[in-house]
Symmetry: C2
Subunit: 455 residues, 2 copies
Amino acid sequence: MDTLKMKLQDVIDSRMDEFYDYLRLDSVSTQDRKIPETVEYVKGMLEKTGGEVQVLDDLGGNPVVYGFFPAGKGGNKDKTLLFYNHYDVQPEDPIDEWESAPFEPTVKDDILYCRGVADNKANLMVRLNAIQALLDSEEGLSCNVKFLIEGEEENGSPSLGGYLEKYADLFKSDACIWEFGGKDEDENYVIEAGIKGMAYFDLYVESADVDIHSSIGAVVDNAAWRLTHALASLRNADNQVLVEGFYDDITPPTDFEKEVVARKPFDEEKTKELYGLKHPLITKDLEWTPNEALAFYPTMTICGFISGYTGPGSKTVLPRAASAKLDCRIVPGQDPEKIHKLIRTHLDKNGFEDIKLDLIKAQKAFRSDLKNNFVDIVVESAKKAYGEGTDVVLSPNNAGTGPMYNFDKYLNLPVLSSGCGWANSKAHAPNESVRLKDFFEGTAHMAYLLQDFGK
Amino acid sequence: MDTLKMKLQDVIDSRMDEFYDYLRLDSVSTQDRKIPETVEYVKGMLEKTGGEVQVLDDLGGNPVVYGFFPAGKGGNKDKTLLFYNHYDVQPEDPIDEWESAPFEPTVKDDILYCRGVADNKANLMVRLNAIQALLDSEEGLSCNVKFLIEGEEENGSPSLGGYLEKYADLFKSDACIWEFGGKDEDENYVIEAGIKGMAYFDLYVESADVDIHSSIGAVVDNAAWRLTHALASLRNADNQVLVEGFYDDITPPTDFEKEVVARKPFDEEKTKELYGLKHPLITKDLEWTPNEALAFYPTMTICGFISGYTGPGSKTVLPRAASAKLDCRIVPGQDPEKIHKLIRTHLDKNGFEDIKLDLIKAQKAFRSDLKNNFVDIVVESAKKAYGEGTDVVLSPNNAGTGPMYNFDKYLNLPVLSSGCGWANSKAHAPNESVRLKDFFEGTAHMAYLLQDFGK
């Protein structure tokens, strides 16, 4: 192990208790839990590392934490790397399926379990540990470093655009490292150069003022049936969205992007095993490969629904109301507002005018130029950190969602991912985790990047 | 008011506190609440009225209470009228929608609210009050009276058939008055001569071992979509069941039954107003009238479903599991087990082999012979009780469900309904109620019937 890596391990060990306390804060933004406490805690973590901190909260929403670390004596004061993170986490339910307390960091077989550890608290700690190791050494940072740490990412980042617009000068940087990243099912370290957007909807329908004895079902419809038929009309069982115009605005991937995607391995059997899938992948009638589907094409997902009686035994009612949550992951070229209009029109045309459709989260997609020099720097520093046992793989586009589009719009810079997640991190699901080995290697990646970026 | 009616009012008043205590017992059979206490209480009510009581519990399930009152001195010892009641009630949820505590009897504007009052505790009280008034008078009962009061009606009466089979001699009677009955939207007093059956199903599907981040929805299906498509395939938006063979076994209604149904008024506007319906009735492409649909044709109803995240805000997951409750009201000729097989075959044929389908409640339908002399006795005694302001209307078939089929099978007798419900009784829904006026008139009907039946 080289000197830097030994130093990193020391720093990691010395800040583990601090990290655990950060994980214990159940900062669930969609439920407004522990937000002020977490902001205060994050501010303290940055200050302890030696950063200048500002808490921005003049535009509403959960506060945005700004951090700044200047380049060292031998560093390049004209280059700035921006780290994007978020301090909020997903809700912990279904709580029954956790094998340890969701908000108590628990290590088992060198794996650290906690809600929010992979998405995205470990990545903040990784970056702070890397900075501290370099600041403690003689060389210092090769560039300026800024942080933007928001608290509404799991809620669609509704305030982030406003803060980036108003504070564009404060956050001005040359490139950005995204909040997440990590290894895939084949233990490749994947660097993402883009991200999908999102249109998330609440659907709601009422059929009556009261629940009615189900015998009347001979002549009276109910909300559960109406919602079922409306949902079934939106997407077929083979994963094809049936809403007219849904696919029209997709920016076609370039040949180079397709080539990069084609290089990425995809192992269907491993994916099935990983999640315990009960059915084949739903890609049979699509014109694109699974990897292309994940990178370049939009999805439509029922994230949940509820209506009527769902307890034990039976209750015979016509439910008066029904609701569902629908999530569309959209791609460059698509606009959430337009998707909203298209689905509304589809429902109206099919006799579902009465079904309420509210767009509760909207986010455009973004993809960096893969030929930008920043791509090479991130890839090469990753190779140094991960060594020969791990392939470093570039991906034009992650299948998940984040507010990357705003960084392009207001700061106009390339954005790449880096993080310490793994294929079984279970972000958004019970038993979310990070492996301690990845936590170390992710720290090394950031340290090498911070050595090289200013050169 | 004649002497009998005055006497009835006295008896009603004297037993109102006892009735309220009966209502306070939250005897929810599907949740196993207060069953032994309620059995004991019912036994006490019968004994207080002067009946001989046996509690039958040797065949499992909730106990069946048997009661016997012999014909009076001038009465006909060779004729026996059987009253069927149940002491169990539906669950009270959604509890938020109750305007008074669900299990606290509350009178407002001469309407008595409580879970179980209409279905079916008031009808037991009505019958006991009528018997007591006659026993207190010189004439006594014109016939023997028996009671069968079970505790699993709201759970599909799984044990009743067994008790009727074993105790057929004990319950042997000449005719039976059903547990419920009452007035429709137009204030007609409706006497039902039959009842639908039921096949009630739990549906359940799993798509993975874990909830998955919804970005993977580009290639991986989820349980919510699978259940949606499966349900949508079973019945169309116009109320037509699409399961092959579903309608095949229906016993066609006779011309006389059709004629009786055609006499029954049906007021679409009143039905819509009563429940606050948001949509037109779903009868547009059916070959039968609304009243025929209610009496003679089967239904398929989603009583509830649940999957994934249904809380506030958003959560982006592929739900690993989804479940639904499906209720088919079936008619004479149809068999619940066969309906089960037909739906299973339909699901398998349409690619939904993985969807579990459990028949959790099964009940055949029954319709009495409308030309039986008992029909006239019940109709004529009702006319005396309700007077000229109320039309007494015969219906071959109620749209609801009950274990009437077993009474035909083991006791071989005609069964007619009588009760003190009204169109806004909200059986199975919040704010269930009975009007005090109907409670009195229902008592009068039973008293006149008990004067006439033995003659």
